[in-house]
């Protein structure tokens, strides 16, 4: 059970990245590879605010959320928007990877290559739960990710903004003709993705530390989460993320480190052959 808990905690991270990918994908059809780096940045800002500035929890979270949202909006403005409205172009893949690399570089430059420890918001005394142990903060992470994922799912299904973003992902120009401010939606999506990434800095960082390899690592697993859950579905990325986390944890318990990756690949092929659009996909067609 302890393995399952730690799998769920890792899975929550992957799901969080997948959710961030989907926010932007649903509103503007762009795959934002830098999303994982935004989460990494969130952990460093949490370290900066909590350790360097010695701020209490609430301002730490607020500062992280605001700063990362700002950076995400800057990314949209500089690296994504100039390319919008062009078809057949894979250029946004490259520019968003460019932003990711630059963020890696900035973090290394400022904080160096040594991981920094981020203080946990809750007690670090492990809880005994359903026959396994888990740290309270990890549990909080799992719960918060589920809340955010489900909340975003509802937002996209039940609100005008969600509807407008689905419409603009389907036909950008027609959405504009109906009065949908597609530019604001795109900016909003990046801001929201940044806000979430920044706000999670403390909860994520206390488990993983603020470390410069975090972005690349999470980017890959977030992609796996989306591949399994189906792009464009928030519930799908939750399930994809958690499933990936659990499989890794369980498989690596019994085999050597090479197998989890291969088992996940096999699982993915299986899903592909039975559910072509991923478990919950379908809202967004080929965008990459």
């Amino acid at each position: 059970m302890t393995t399952l808990w730690s799998g769920l905690a890792d899975g929550a991270l992957y799901a969080l990245v997948g959710v961030g990918y989907n926010i932007v994908l649903l509103a503007s059809g762009v795959f934002n590879f830098a999303n994982a780096q935004l989460i990494m940045l969130g952990t460093y800002l949490a370290y900066f605010a909590a350790v360097t500035l010695k701020l209490p929890l609430v301002p730490t979270v607020l500062i992280g959320a605001a700063a990362v949202a700002l950076i995400a909006v800057a990314e949209e403005r500089l690296a994504i928007r100039p390319l919008m409205g062009r078809r057949d172009s894979h250029a946004t893949l490259i520019t968003s990877v460019g932003v990711a690399v630059a963020l890696d570089g900035i973090v290394l430059r400022i904080w160096g290559s040594q991981p920094k420890s981020v203080p946990a918001p809750l007690s670090s005394k492990p809880l005994n739960l359903l026959g396994g142990t888990i740290e309270p903060t990890a549990l909080l992470l799992i719960v918060l990710v589920i809340v955010v994922g489900v909340g975003l799912h509802i937002l996209s299904k039940k609100t005008m903004i969600g509807l407008g973003s689905l419409a603009s992902a389907e036909d950008r120009e027609a959405a504009m003709a109906r009065g949908v401010n597609v530019r604001a939606l795109a900016i909003g999506a990046f801001a929201l993705a940044g806000l979430i990434a920044g706000a999670f800095g403390v909860v994520v960082g206390s488990g993983t530390y603020a470390n410069p390899g975090l972005g690349d690592n999470l980017a890959l697993f977030g992609f796996v989460a989306i591949a399994i859950g189906g792009s464009g579905s928030q519930i799908g990325s939750l399930i994809g993320g958690f499933a990936t986390g659990i499989i890794y944890a369980e498989v690596s318990r019994y085999t050597n480190a090479d197998w989890p990756q291969i088992v996940v690949f096999a699982l993915f092929l299986l899903i592909l052959l039975t559910r072509p659009r991923g478990l919950f996909g379908g809202a967004v067609e080929r965008q990459v």
């Binding site: 903004i161 509807l163 689905l166 504009m176 401010n181």
Partner: protein, 258 residues
């Protein structure tokens, strides 16, 4: 109501419109005729804010200059645009499409605003066949129904000007008739309608004013009543004769080079 004053522009370096003027009053229909590729749709795109490059000219809605506004701000200002090719959102349901039409009416969060719902209900009254298909995705509607949905969607925010781009294209004659009857109704309700059409007779039957565009320039314009014979308009739009009556601008001289 809507005034287009010698607009010129196109797509990047390719100029398509060379100083086109047009206007339409409340309760009137102005029909824009012209051959394929003459610049009719580009004119509507320019008014709606979709023409990538506008070099000169003005577009006014009432007293409001639209020139610098984004397409969605123009919708908010009271302009409705039904694009060519029945462009509804195929993956969304009929109801969702109508709600989207009201995006500017009730922007904030929840879908079920009372005012918006009232507008949607009015659309169902006007287009009963949509009411029976609320939950059907728009992609499964027939061509005629999609066209009706597109018009219904555009009417939700209660615009003052409606622009229609070839609404009868690809429709069976009976359905096309319904569309024209609908346009006539809207005109009677006081809407200003700017209509691009290919089917000359049907269009002239409901129009008050006509503009013939040829190679991005106005070849002729005036009141339909002043053209005593529709064949004259037809010849004109096919580029067969010189000028028509009314305030004719004569035929555009061929342009050299590009």
């Amino acid at each position: 109501m809507l005034t287009v004053d010698s607009i010129a522009g196109g797509y990047g370096d390719i100029q398509v419109l060379w100083g086109v003027s047009a206007s339409v009053e409340a309760g009137h229909v102005t029909v824009v005729l012209g051959r394929n590729g003459a610049g009719k749709s580009s004119l509507l795109n320019a008014v709606a804010g979709f023409l990538p490059t506008v070099r000169s000219g003005h577009v006014r809605l009432g007293d409001l200059e639209l020139g610098r506004l984004t397409p969605f701000e123009r919708v908010r200002a009271g302009l409705a645009y039904v694009q060519e090719g029945k462009r509804v959102f195929h993956r969304r349901t009929v109801e969702e499409n109508l709600l989207l039409g009201g995006y500017t009416v009730k922007r904030p969060f929840l879908r079920r605003g009372q005012r918006l719902q009232a507008s949607v209900d009015r659309a169902y009254e006007r287009f009963p066949m949509l009411a029976d298909r609320r939950k059907m995705t728009a992609g499964r509607l027939s061509g005629g129904q999609q066209q009706m949905l597109a018009i219904a969607q555009a009417l939700i925010p209660e615009p003052t000007v409606l622009m229609l781009d070839e609404p009868s294209a690809g429709l069976a004659p009976a359905v096309a008739k319904e569309v024209f009857a609908m346009v006539e109704n809207l005109k009677r309700e006081g809407l200003a309608v700017l209509l691009v059409e290919q089917v000359v007779d049907n269009a002239l039957a409901i129009a008050d004013d006509v503009i013939v565009i040829d190679a991005g320039r106005v070849a002729a314009s005036g009141r339909v009543a002043d053209f005593d014979d529709t064949t004259m308009v037809r010849d004109l739009y096919l580029g067969r004769s010189g000028a028509g009556p009314g305030e004719s601008h004569g035929r555009a001289p061929g342009r050299s080079g590009s």
